[in-house]
């Protein structure tokens, strides 16, 4: 018996880390945590980075269709783990089109008819105890490739992964066969070409781990129509949604914003008339901030048409809190300016989309951390936190190994049991978001494969908050399919309540086509997208930063820092998350530059290699994430980074 027991102990200890003392332990590989971990390793701190999931990113990850469907149909079993496993997809609901009745072989070649979704809706209420008529679909949907592959009669397509024909993949079974080719972000994103995140990726050398695509078009949905947002002066004048007078308003507003911020980058292009106007205003950011209560008031002071106001408040300024009144003058002006400076950098559009999903961004910083000696262990988290009085001393990880470190960084969701136990009043802000993920057979916005649409409040099916829509074609999807994301702030309603009517209006009625009046046209009808699969869920996201402070960290025992677990904020730039990472970083290593450029990997390896004398041969695995190595690395990097 004893031998057996010893064996069990040996087995569990096989997973133990060789090293049990670190400068910093980071738990959760979300956006902020990954940035901090990368930055700390970069300056020679020994970092252990854990994540309770077996994948990276927490709320900032991307999943295949099969994974997402699993998450929605098999909710987290809270009883199995002590701590809360993120992400939690609340109120899950899946809708998909019923597969057509099995055709006889003779019908196969001409089989083009599809049931219209309206006539045969199949709603699978997510619940493990399915009592509806959809049991069969539910089980086949359980997304193990094996069950999908099983020889059923309904599928008409013989799937060869590469070559597929148009009409043969309109059922949910077919889409799950290629489900692994989907990269579905929990929270998709756009990156301003000149925004904080792109700048950071470049300056920290993490951009080499990532690829991007420029967005094709972005739109504003207003007055029941989609308006393409012009990206160049030329396209503004070609645009036919605004009158000539309105176009002048827009140009004038943009010039005035530029002069307020003192941005002269466009002076060469300006004709003298515009320059004169600029001088007339004489306003500064300070003076307008004093003068106007918020950005709305500032925009209204220009006395433009309401069309133009909406265009600026929602289409160009991309900060969308619960109420547009919450946008400050400064935030609004800087957002408009960021939009303008990001134009024509990597393409016409000011935006980049991560080529393989947003989930790769935290992984890029984690790789940076690993390259600088950070240790990564997925599927492992905090078992308990150890204190000495009010001083944090270390953790016992979920594998039972006691580990010590000077600092612990984790998000409120990881720390909440300990926060509650310590009777601390959490001061982070919690926002609930509603999400819908839609897979269709055709684009909902024709003429552009990857698009972003802003839907202001009260524009469609009584939406209370701004809705962001991403359409993805050719990237992040299996060939022949279109992936559409809907995101909005929720007021406590379920994602289905918030978004289903919107989705239906958009997709089913073909309302997203720019030429909406062509509804009666039969061609337009044929080109309407069919919903092949859709999933709805809610997510709660915590932001621990208020006014650039981390009040929760201040309340925590010494040595513990709290990071937001929210990959998004009201603004689509990542300034606030980056600021947060910087502030945690500088509390740990004050005065040290954050994420400096890394020399080429060739240099890194051989700089530390040269000084070595040949010693013992390769032996067993020893975790030699020694500090000496790291400091060598950091010292050798002063060649080409003089930008700061």
């Amino acid at each position: 018996m004893d031998e057996e027991l010893n064996h069990v102990i040996d087995e569990s200890r096989a997973n133990y880390l060789d090293k049990d003392n670190y400068d910093v332990i980071v738990v959760g590989t979300g956006f902020v945590e990954s940035l901090v971990a990368g930055a700390l390793a970069r300056v020679g701190k020994s970092v252990l980075h854990l994540d309770q999931n077996c994948y990276y990113g927490v709320n900032c990850s991307s999943f295949t269709l099969n994974q997402l469907s699993d998450m929605l149909t098999k909710p987290n079993d809270d009883s199995t783990t002590a701590s809360v496993v993120q992400p939690i997809l609340k109120n899950p609901y899946i809708y998909y089109q019923q597969p057509p009745t099995p055709p006889t072989p003779a019908q196969l070649p001409t089989q083009v008819e599809q049931p219209t979704p309206v006539e045969q809706p199949v709603a699978t209420e997510q619940q493990t105890t399915t009592t509806t008529t959809n049991v069969e679909e539910s089980t086949t949907l359980d997304t193990n490739d094996t069950s999908v592959e099983s020889t059923t009669t309904t599928t008409t397509a013989t799937i060869t992964p590469v070559v597929e024909k148009e009409k043969e993949k309109e059922t949910v079974k077919d889409v799950f066969k290629v489900g692994r080719q989907f990269i579905i972000d929990l929270f998709p994103s756009l990156l301003y070409a000149k925004g904080a995140l792109v700048q950071l990726l470049i300056s920290s050398s993490t951009s080499k781990y990532l690829e991007f695509k420029t967005l094709d078009k972005n739109y504003l949905y207003a007055n029941g129509k989609l308006h393409a947002i012009p990206s160049t002066k030329g396209s503004i004048f070609k645009d036919n949604t605004f009158s000539l007078k309105e176009k002048r308003y827009i140009m004038k507003f943009i010039e005035s914003v530029r002069s307020i911020v003192g941005d002269n980058s466009s002076t060469e292009e300006n004709n003298t008339e515009e320059q004169e106007k600029q001088q007339q205003t004489g306003e500064t950011l300070e003076s307008v901030t004093k003068k106007y209560k918020n950005f709305v008031e500032f925009v209204k002071s220009y006395q433009m048409s309401s069309n133009v106001e909406t265009f600026i408040l929602y289409g160009i300024c991309l900060i969308h809190p619960r109420s547009v009144e919450q946008v400050t003058v400064e935030e609004g002006i800087l957002s408009v300016l960021l939009y303008m400076t990001s134009l024509l950098v990597y393409g016409e559009s000011p935006f980049l989309i991560p080529y393989y999903g947003y989930g790769d961004i935290p992984q890029a910083f984690c790789r940076l951390c690993a390259v600088f000696g950070g240790t990564f262990v997925l599927d492992r988290t905090i078992g308990s936190i150890n204190f000495n009085e009010n001083q944090y001393t270390g953790i016992t990880c979920s594998a039972g190994q006691p580990l010590t470190s000077k600092y612990l960084i984790a998000s409120p969701s990881v720390l909440s049991p300990y926060i509650e136990a310590a009777n601390l009043q959490p001061q982070y802000t919690k926002e609930q978001y509603s999400r819908c993920i839609l897979i269709t057979d055709k684009v909902i916005v024709n003429s552009s494969e990857c698009s972003y649409i802003t839907i202001p409040p009260n524009s469609i099916a009584g939406n209370k908050s701004t809705i962001n829509v991403y359409q993805m074609e050719n990237i992040c999807v299996a060939r022949g399919y279109v992936l559409i994301h809907f995101t909005t702030l929720s007021n406590g309603a379920t994602a289905r309540d918030d978004l289903e009517a919107v989705v239906e209006t958009f997709a089913k009625k073909g309302c997203l086509y720019r030429d909406i009046d062509a509804d009666s046209n039969s061609d337009a009808k044929d080109s309407r997208p069919n919903i092949i699969w859709s999933g709805y869920f809610n997510m709660d996201l915590n932001t621990s930063i208020v006014n650039n402070k981390s009040p929760l960290s201040e309340l925590m025992p010494k040595g513990i820092f709290v990071s937001s677990d929210s990959p998004i904020s009201a603004s689509i730039d990542y300034q606030s998350q980056i600021n947060e990472a910087k502030s945690i970083f500088s509390m740990i290593v004050p005065g040290v530059p954050f994420l400096e450029k890394v020399p080429d990997s060739e240099d890194i390896i051989w700089n530390s290699e040269e000084e070595q004398s040949a010693t013992t041969n390769e032996t067993t695995t020893t975790t030699t994430t020694a500090n000496t190595d790291n400091s060598n690395l950091t010292e050798s990097n002063n060649n080409d980074d003089k930008q700061e």
């Binding site: 997973n15 994948y55 990276y56 991307s62 295949t64 992964p161 590469v162 692994r180 080719q181 792109v198 990726l201 470049i202 951009s207 080499k208 781990y209 990532l210 690829e211 991007f212 695509k213 420029t214 980049l352 080529y355 393989y356 790769d360 992984q363 890029a364 984690c366 790789r367 690993a370 390259v371 600088f372 000696g373 240790t375 990564f376 262990v377 997925l378 599927d379 492992r380 990237i475 060939r479 990997s601 060739e602 890194i604 390896i605 051989w606 530390s608 070595q612 004398s613 040949a614 010693t615 013992t616 041969n617 390769e618 695995t621 020893t622 975790t623 030699t624 994430t625 190595d629 690395l633």
Partner: protein
């Protein structure tokens, strides 16, 4: 074909910790070998230009950066790989037995469009320590054959045995995959310092 072929190949090296992944790429790219074992620190990726059938090819060889130690390589590591090199140590049986799971891991994470024909290459490393050998060439070769005739090389990063040949085959097979794609994947943009506008070829 009309489209210009991608000439940048991403090659990733997988295998248990300590089998010599970093040493192999350093030997190939830098013609250097260090005898001292160091868990991979600072190893990111190395690039090398080479000729394959009269074409200039840039091969980017990605190291695991140590994230393989606790099976914690993220999916991002696998994105866009054109070839996967599986390395084991001929002197340590376990490293050979784990090839199966590394191959599976790759296929799951990378999700290549045509898994049956995705190019793998297997390297049995550290053959310079011949007297300690536990995995026979025959055993390794038959495993490779059973997995769809994966090319197999016995290498020594230390003595530079077969390293050049192995990587030449790696490049050749990677390029074959690219050429064979019916729908070539349009390349993404890499953001770079100041104004060097990377011309995207996505339309």
């Amino acid at each position: 074909m009309a489209t210009k072929k991608k000439v940048l190949l991403k090659v990733i090296i997988l295998g248990d910790t300590g089998v010599g992944k970093t040493s192999l790429m350093n030997q190939y790219v830098n013609k250097k070998f260090s005898n001292q074992y160091k868990a991979t620190i600072g190893a990111d990726f190395l690039t090398k230009e080479l000729m394959v059938d009269d074409r200039v090819v840039t091969m980017q060889i990605w190291d695991t950066a140590g994230q393989e130690r606790f099976q914690s390589l993220g999916v991002a590591f696998y994105r866009g790989a054109d070839c996967c090199v599986l390395v084991y140590d001929v002197n340590v049986a376990k490293t050979f037995e784990n090839l199966d799971s590394w191959r599976d891991e790759f296929l799951i994470q990378a999700g290549p469009r045509d898994p049956d024909n995705f190019p793998f290459v297997v390297l049995g490393n550290k053959i310079d320590l011949e007297n300690q050998r536990v995995v026979s060439q025959k055993r390794a070769a038959s495993w490779c054959q059973s997995k769809g005739n994966i090319p197999y090389f016995e290498t020594s990063a230390k003595e530079a045995i077969n390293v050049e040949q192995a990587f030449q085959t790696i490049a050749k097979n990677a390029i074959k995959l690219e050429d064979g794609l019916v729908f070539p994947i349009p390349p993404g943009i890499q953001v770079q310092p100041e104004q060097t506008q990377t011309k995207s070829s996505c339309c």
